[in-house]
Amino acid sequence: MWTVAACLMPPLVLSVFIFGIQTLVITAACVISCVVVEAITQKCLKRQVTIYDGSAVITGLLIAYIIPPSAPLWLPPLGAIMGIYIGKHLLGGIGYNIFNPALLARAFLMATFPVAMTAAWMPPLSTMEIFSFYGETVDAVSAATPLYLLSHGGMAALIEEFGSPSSFYGRFFLGWRPGCIGETSTFLIMAGGLFLMYKKYITWHTPVAMLGTIALLTWIFGGDEKLFAGDPILAVLAGGAMLGAFFMATDYVTTPMGAKAKLVFGFGVGALTVLIRLKGGYPEGVAYAILLMNPMTPALEVWFRPQRFAPPLGSDQ
C-alpha cells in the first residue's frame, strides 16, 4: 500500500509547480480527513482500526487528485465522509467494498457541488510563482479544461486556446494544462504506474485495454464531422484517463483478479469513458465509467474463472 502511495507522490509535487502551493494544502486536507473518518468509523462500528495499512491515505490522495486545484477546503471532509464512511465501510469495509471509494467521493461532490467542482479551473502557472494564487478568490482566474473545450467548441476551440496539437501534446504529456490536481501529468502518472508493474503490484492488462479502447474509439467516433477523424493521442492525454487507468481501474478490491477479466474490465471502462465524453452531459467520463464497471467485477470473476490444473470429471468446469 505504501508503495502505491509513494508512486502517487511525484504528480503531487509537480502539481505545486503547475497550480501553486494550495494543491498541497488540499491534498493534506483530503488525506487527513480520510484517515480521521476511517478511525472514527471503525471505532463506532467496533471494528479493528486499520488506519496504518495505508489504504485510507491512498483514498485521500486519490480524492485530492480528482478535484480541481481551486476547490474550497470544505470539500475534502465531505468527500472523505462519502468515500470512506459510506463508500468503504458501510459497503463492507476493506476488501468488500463494491465501488472505488475515491471515485464515489468525486461522483458525490460532482453531483452535489457542481459549481465548486467545475466552475473555476486554474490555468497552469507561467512562472514559478507557486504562492501567487494563494488567498485570492478563485473566480479571479479561470480556464477551461481541454475536454471541456473539445466537447463545447470542438477541435477549433481547443486549438485556439492551446495552439496546434503538435505544440500541446508535449505540454499535456508533462502536465501543463488545466485539470484536477493530480491528473494532469501523463508522464509522472505513467512512470508511477510502470514502477508498480515492474514491482508486480499491478499488471498491464487493465491500463492497456482501457487506454487502447479510449484511443481507438475516440479515433473512430471522436471526429467533429466524420468517422476516423478523432484525436486518439489527445484522448489519453486529457482528463483523468491516465490516472484512472493506472491507479483506479487497477484497484485490487473493486476490479477483477484474472487477466482475461481485467482485459474485459479495461475495455468496458474505455468504451463507457468514450461514450460519456462524446455523448454524455459531462466533458469527462473516466470516473463514472470505472464506477459503472466496478459492480460488474463479481460477474467478470464468475465468467472468467482461472484455468484449473485438472478439474474433476463432471464438475462445473
Binding site: 476493506i94 476488501g95 478490491v253 483478479m257 482461472p306 490444473f309 478439474p311 474433476p312 470429471l313 464438475s315
Partner: protein, 453 residues
Amino acid sequence: MMNSAALLTFPKGGVHPPESKELTSGIPIEEMPVPANLEIILGQHIGVPCEPLVKKHSKVQEGELIGQVSRGLGVPIHAPISGTVANIGDSYHPFRVSTPSVTIRSSTDSEPVCYTPVDWNAFSREELKDKVRAAGIIGAGGAGFPTHVKLSPPPDARIDTLILNGAECEPYLTADHRIMVEHAEEVIIGAQVILKILGIKRCLIGIEANKPDAIATMTDAARKQSRDAANRGEQVEIAVKTLQVKYPQGSEKQLIQSLTGRKVPGFGLPLAIGVVVQNITTARAIYEAAVLNKPFIEKVVTISGRGIKRPANLNVKVGTLVSDIVNYLGGTTEDLKKVVLGGPMMGFAVSTLDIPILKTTSSILFLTKDEIDIRPHSNCIRCGWCVEVCPMGLQPCEIGMYVEAGKGKDTRQFGALECFECGSCAYVCPAKRPLVQFVRLAKMELNKKPLVV
C-alpha cells in the same frame, strides 16, 4: 550455469521462498547415537494402525517385528533397536493428539546387527514386492502410503515410467539431497528394484538445479548401474533430469508434469497416466529391503533453522524423541520461536518436543523470530496473488472469504477439494491470511456427510 528457461518445470503458478538450505546442505549425514528410549508409533502409515505383537518387559532384537496390521493396507513395524519393551501406551503425535505406541528401552549389551548384502536380481518380482511390504516401507515423503500397494498397479494400468522425486523443493530440507550425494548407488539400485517389480524399463529422476553435486553423483551412479544392467543383458533407461528451482516442484502432480508433460486427472492417481512416483528416501529403503534384508527402521532427518545450536542431517532411529535430538545437538538458541515438523511450507508446528520421529518425518525446524511471520491477518483485499501462484489453478482467496462467512460448503466451485495444501497462496498473501487452514476447514465442510435419520 544452465539457462533457467531450459530447465524443466511446471507451467502454472509456484513461488520462490528463501531456500535456507545452506544451513545443512554441505553437512554430511551424521549417525545419531541410540537414545535411551524410543517411542514407536503404531500408526505410521495411512489406514488402520498396527496391533502390537510384543508385551511389556519382553526383550526385542533390532529388526524384530513388533507390530502387524490385522486388516487394511498397512505395513508391519519393526524394532529399530535391541532392548526391552518398557511400555505399551500412548505417545504425542505431530498432528494427531495422541496415538498408541510401543516404548523400547535400549540395552547396552546387545550385539550390533549385521546386514549382509544379497543379490537382489535372484529374486522374482513377487518376492521383491513381498520384501518391500515385509520391510514396512511407506512413502517417506509425508503421506505415508504403503509402498507395496503403489507397486501393485491394477492389471489394466499401463505403467511405462517410474519417477524418483529428488526435487526436495521445501526450504531448509536437505536430507534427500545428502542421501543422493552420499548414497547415490543405493538409490539407483532401489530404482532398479522398483523397475523390476513394475516390469518397466524407464526411470526419470527429477532434481532441482540448486543441488548440482547431487545431480553429478546421481548421473554417475545412473550411468554405472545402466552399464551393469546392460552387462547382465537388461535394458534400463535411468535418466537424471534437472528441474527449475520453484516451489512446489516436488509435488507429485507438478513433478509428473515437469518431467513428462502428462497431467494427472482431477482426483485421479498417477497410475492413470502410466506413472509411478517414489521418494528418494523410499527408493533407498527399498534398496535396503531388497539387498540387505533390512527393515525401514531409521531415517535421515534434516534438523535445521536458526533456533538450533548445531544444524545437522541426522540418521536417526524411527521413534527417537525430538527432545533427545535437541539434547544431542546442543540445545536450542534463546530466540527460538517455533518448532515445525516437516518443511516450513507444508509442515506442522508442534507444541511439545516429546514427539517421536515417524517413518514420514523429513525434518524438524527450529525457527527464530526472523524466520517466521507472526503478524495477525487482515481482510482479503482481492489482490489475486494467490490465484496467480496456485499451481492447481484454484481461487484460495474466495475459499477463505467463503469459509469466514460460514459458507465453506459452497467452495467446490473454487476447487477446494483439489487443493493439496502446498501453501504457496499463504506464502504470498499480503494480508497474511491463513489460506491453507481456510481450505482445510472448507474440505471438512465439504466432506461432511449429511445426517441420516
